[in-house]
């Protein structure tokens, strides 16, 4: 009897001090399965028949790291998607040739996405890659200059021609192919088009005039070569796959104990509690599911905008631009323009739900991709978690989604959730993917 009293007095309290591991019930295990099954290869990209061609990936890798794609010779894709900064740039909004208005997303796992850009105005990785080249605040170039640059750089020309055949002829004729020539981007006409959108500048007219002066065949030749370059860049980006993170090793210990890599101590107990919150009271999994921790769709989380700030509409603009984009999946440069393949484009819906909505970003590698949100408004993970708890104010357009419920979390719970979000960082990709190839 004395012994059991001694046990009750000394041993039991000591045991209680060891933190209790949360138990993941059947429902949580089913959700966990959705979050952790990291795909080894990205989904097929039928509109790009070079998507999995290793030569295309190598050529694309050269282009990705080459500042020569911008006429100033100073900005490459890697300027804003820096492998050492989680394939982002660590800035609230990107700085290319000048300052942009959106945050650069990570490219890790980007090939898993269904739509590209915060407003989803591209439906493939390869058509996305064409955007920054002509964006006046990013690389401020033109398709004509880029194609000419490839043609005039012997290594690039060789790599290009091995894959795609002869480059357009007569590129050194500046009358036929004027410097800076590019078409006026198609302008959305819907009610909520974004008049201040920097990708649709009102200046730049000489570039449009130059383009209009070209023959239809020459325009077509440039577009085709431009699309091929995009397809090569996409082939490279498809190699930026997400490596298992501590979270995945922990999830394996819950779902398939004893499996290779499974480790029940891979994340702290605080982070385990945070994971429970993520799938429970905080309901983050409603939008941040799939192994990307993104549903790959668009939601209005209701960010406030200051009175003197410009706001952008997000998704409605993206839908319209996508439909008008000649480089979309049903356009003449797609390798699979048929209706059957382009289900997502065909049934795309433009309605009031899309106002003020942005794409759910991946939460993978969050620890490396601060600041957060489409405009980089939050510096820390803690600020993001606090935002979801408070949901302050109202968005300037549309309405905040009802899925968001202001979960009441204690300080400890918010810390736990943040601890969980920090367990999603993967080890870096092999060094040979993080620089231009030899």
């Amino acid at each position: 009897m004395w012994l059991s009293l001694a046990f009750a007095l000394f041993v039991a309290p000591m045991q209680a001090q060891e933190e209790e591991r949360p138990y993941f019930d059947q429902r949580e295990q089913a959700l966990l399965r959705l979050l952790t099954k990291l795909p080894q290869t990205p989904p097929p990209s039928p509109s790009n028949r070079f998507a999995d061609d290793p030569r295309a990936a190598r050529f694309g890798q050269i282009l990705f790291f080459d500042p020569g794609l911008s006429p100033s010779g100073t900005v490459s894709c890697a300027t804003c998607h820096d492998p050492e900064k989680g394939w982002s740039d660590g800035r609230p909004t990107s700085l290319g040739v000048s300052l942009g208005r959106r945050n650069a997303p990570t490219l890790l796992g980007a090939a898993e996405q269904r739509w590209f850009f915060w407003d989803g105005r591209a439906d493939s990785l390869w058509s996305q890659a064409l955007g920054p080249v002509e964006n006046p605040v990013e690389m401020a170039g033109s398709r004509t200059d880029m194609v000419r640059y490839v043609a005039e750089t012997p290594d690039l020309r060789k790599a290009y021609e091995e894959l795609f055949g002869a480059m357009p002829e007569g590129l050194d004729d500046r009358k036929r192919f004027p410097d800076g020539a590019r078409p006026r981007p198609p302008a959305p006409t819907g009610m909520f088009h974004d008049v201040s959108d920097l990708s649709m500048p009102t200046e730049g007219l000489p570039a449009y005039k130059a383009w209009a002066s070209m023959s239809a065949e020459d325009q077509e030749a440039i577009n085709q070569a431009f699309a091929y370059c995009g397809k090569a860049i996409a082939a490279f980006e498809r190699k930026l796959v997400i490596q298992p993170a501590p979270f995945d090793r922990f999830a394996a210990s819950v779902l398939t104990p004893g499996a290779e890599g499974a480790d029940k101590d891979a994340i702290s107990i605080a982070a385990q509690r945070g994971l429970e919150l993520f799938m429970g009271k905080a309901s983050c999994h409603n939008c941040h599911f799939t192994p990307l921790m993104s549903d790959r769709e668009f939601h209005n989380v209701g960010h406030e905008v200051g009175v003197d700030e410009d706001f952008d509409h997000g998704r409605p603009d993206g839908i319209q631009k996508l439909r008008l984009d000649p480089f979309n999946g049903m356009g003449p440069y797609s390798d699979a323009p048929d209706l059957e393949t382009n289900v997502k484009l065909r049934y795309l819906f433009y309605d009031s739900h899309t106002y003020g909505a942005y794409k759910t970003p991946t939460l993978r590698n969050l620890g490396r991709t601060a600041p957060y949100m489409h405009d980089g408004r939050f510096d820390t993970i803690e600020e993001v978690v606090f935002f979801y708890q408070q949901l302050p104010g109202q968005p300037p357009i549309g309405h905040r989604e009802e899925t968001l419920t202001r979960p009441r979390m204690t300080l400890q719970e918010r810390k736990d959730l943040a601890a969980f979000l920090r367990t999603l960082d993967s080890p870096p990709l092999p060094e040979e993917l993080r620089r231009a190839p030899d």
Binding site: R27, A30, L31, R33, L34, H285, N286, C287, F289, T290, D295, R296, E297, F298, V343, K344, R346, Y347, L348, F349, D351, H353, E401, E402, T403
Partner: protein, 136 residues
Amino acid sequence: MPRFLSCAALVLACGACQLIAPEPVIIRGAPDGPAVTLTQGTLRYQSSVEPFPLNEYCSIQFVAEGTELIALEFDADMPAHKHGMITKPEITWSEDKGWWVHGMNFHMPGAWVMSVNAQTTEGWYQIDFPVHIGPR
């Protein structure tokens, strides 16, 4: 005479509204139950991907038995989130394939309701099919 006319008009008008807009029969299906009983016959749905996939595109076939389905309208939403569809599905009919809803995507996990407006040879029905998508 005028009295007779207005009476006739009234009768005619009522007859017309009977034809054009009779009251629909409202039916709520059982949770995840793919079939409902109509005044005459049954209406059943079947997904091209079973069970309904979470956040993937699918097509849904509607099959009437013991009656003929002559018109179909389709909508779906998540009542708890006041959230509708991200796609605009297309309804098709052909003699060999029957009635199909193409381009549906249940993009969020949880409780959805498919609302179907169905006209058969006997009547007009507003049917709710509650479905659960994703893990429970």
